[in-house]
Subunit: 289 residues, 2 copies
């Protein structure tokens, strides 16, 4: 019996599908058919189309497809979560099509939720890409900071760092100054340094004041604001010095978070997020059979 | 010679006009003819219309009417600013019509700007409504925290507290949970308490998680977010305990800031903002003659 299957990392705005056989990616595709782009009742047809392309295989999905805005609400398992617990809680949306649940923090003092990131997080550990005891950061719209202990996801915190940047750029008064490119440059570093004041609301207005008084070059504000937000996020998480953070990111976000983590006294180790997802979803599939 | 004049507090979206004689308000009006509602070249006609209603008197204005988006850029005077310095820097936009400049903080380490608030701040002190040495807070879209020393405005900080609330409510994912009423209630207090973590980006996402997990009643999130933002703002400003803050606010903002300032260990004293403006603009007018 072949252990080939189709794995789908199905987010709000994007989707990544993999044809996996014996733990190896045979082929993959990425498109913008996120759950918000699928019309009501349209998920079975989407899965049929995936099977037309990849073969008539079992399908295992993770991400927002398992939310109340997706196909079928797969619920949450509470921390501490392991890959075995996730595999045992997988639900079927139709025969041969399964969805991995999300993970929650649900204590009297604090609540949090993730959906989709858990496969990458536990997959990184399963694949040996991150140690059994680790702090792992997944930068994005809703940035996840996860604590792994003995291979289990015991706690995590979500920061709306990416969404805050997007909302400020599109809708705040300072958005009109934020047209420039963002990279891990001197303006970004200045923002990270300014985040040490722990006074985000005042620092953000400072962008406007600097513009009015001609104290910052046009085009530098976007990187500064990015540094301010990512710096605030990293400082709130890295309360002990020399903390190592495993970073599930590539491209620009990998550069920005590496720079900010280093600036605030931590060490960043970049981990391949696609390999982590493939390792995690394959391990869940193996445990289901 | 009568010392009657027309004073206008002319902001971005609102305008308040006063007919003042011998320091007393004869009549006043408030409308939504902020500078953004005045068509290009339309300011002289607006002033003529004010004179039709209040009499053919000299006009003295403050606020965004003196910005590059208003009638005539009245510039800024740098801190430390006194009411005498403001009066000496008043500019004429046409004969008999004058505009008070804004105030800036412009040092190598920090910049900030205000325009319009300076008349209230220095007026509060001139009228004896606030002491010569005071911390004064003017809540609003861009919240001002001013340090007065020996009657001079020596420093201030602007926090985008009000704008942040509005932008989150209108455009963030958590905005859909923020439909409820805001008041100084238990939800607001919980937000102020949560702001002690100094982790705004994570606390804001927590609003979403609490909603997904059913841990906060619908309608309570708006007051909680308001408490989180105003609490963060007050904590960043009240670094010493038992600090007294004079609050130029009325209505809801007065209640919210009084509650937050008290929660974080300070003392709030509410000051009449309209009386402060009238005292300040009258003093500037007297010094000009």
């Amino acid at each position: 019996m072949s252990d080939a299957f189709i794995a789908v990392d199905w987010g709000t705005t994007n989707r990544r599908a993999y044809h996996i056989d014996n733990g190896h990616v045979v082929s993959s595709e990425r498109d913008e058919m996120g759950v918000l782009s699928v019309p009501p009742g349209g998920f079975p047809a989407q899965v049929a189309a995936l099977r037309d392309r990849f073969g008539s295989l079992p399908v295992l999905m993770a991400g927002m497809v398992g939310s109340n805005r997706g196909w079928y609400d797969a619920g949450y398992v509470a921390c501490p979560a392991t890959i075995e617990i996730l595999a045992a809680a997988v639900v079927e949306s139709e025969p041969g099509v399964s969805i991995v649940p999300g993970v929650s923090v649900d204590t009297s003092s604090r609540v949090d939720v993730m959906r989709g990131e858990e496969v990458q997080l536990l997959g990184a550990v399963a694949a040996g890409l991150a140690p059994m005891d680790a702090m792992i950061c997944q930068p994005g719209t809703h940035n996840k900071w996860a604590t792994l202990q003995q291979g289990a996801l015991i706690d995590f915190t979500t920061a709306m760092t990416g969404e805050m940047f997007a909302v400020l750029k599109a809708h705040a008064l300072i958005g009109s100054e934020m047209g420039g490119e963002v990279d891990a440059d001197a303006s970004f570093d200045a923002g990270v340094a300014a985040s040490a004041d722990e006074d985000l609301l005042a620092a953000l207005f400072g962008v406007r004041a600097a513009s009015v008084l001609g104290r910052r070059k046009p085009g530098e504000a976007a990187a500064y604001v990015s540094g301010l937000l990512i710096g605030s996020d990293c400082r709130a998480r890295l309360r002990q010095s020399r903390q190592t953070v495993h970073l599930l990111a590539d491209g620009l976000l990998s550069r920005l978070y590496t720079a900010a983590i280093t600036s605030v006294g931590g060490q960043a180790v970049v981990v391949d997020s696609h390999a982590s997802f493939v390792a995690g979803i394959t391990r869940i599939r193996d445990l289901m059979r």
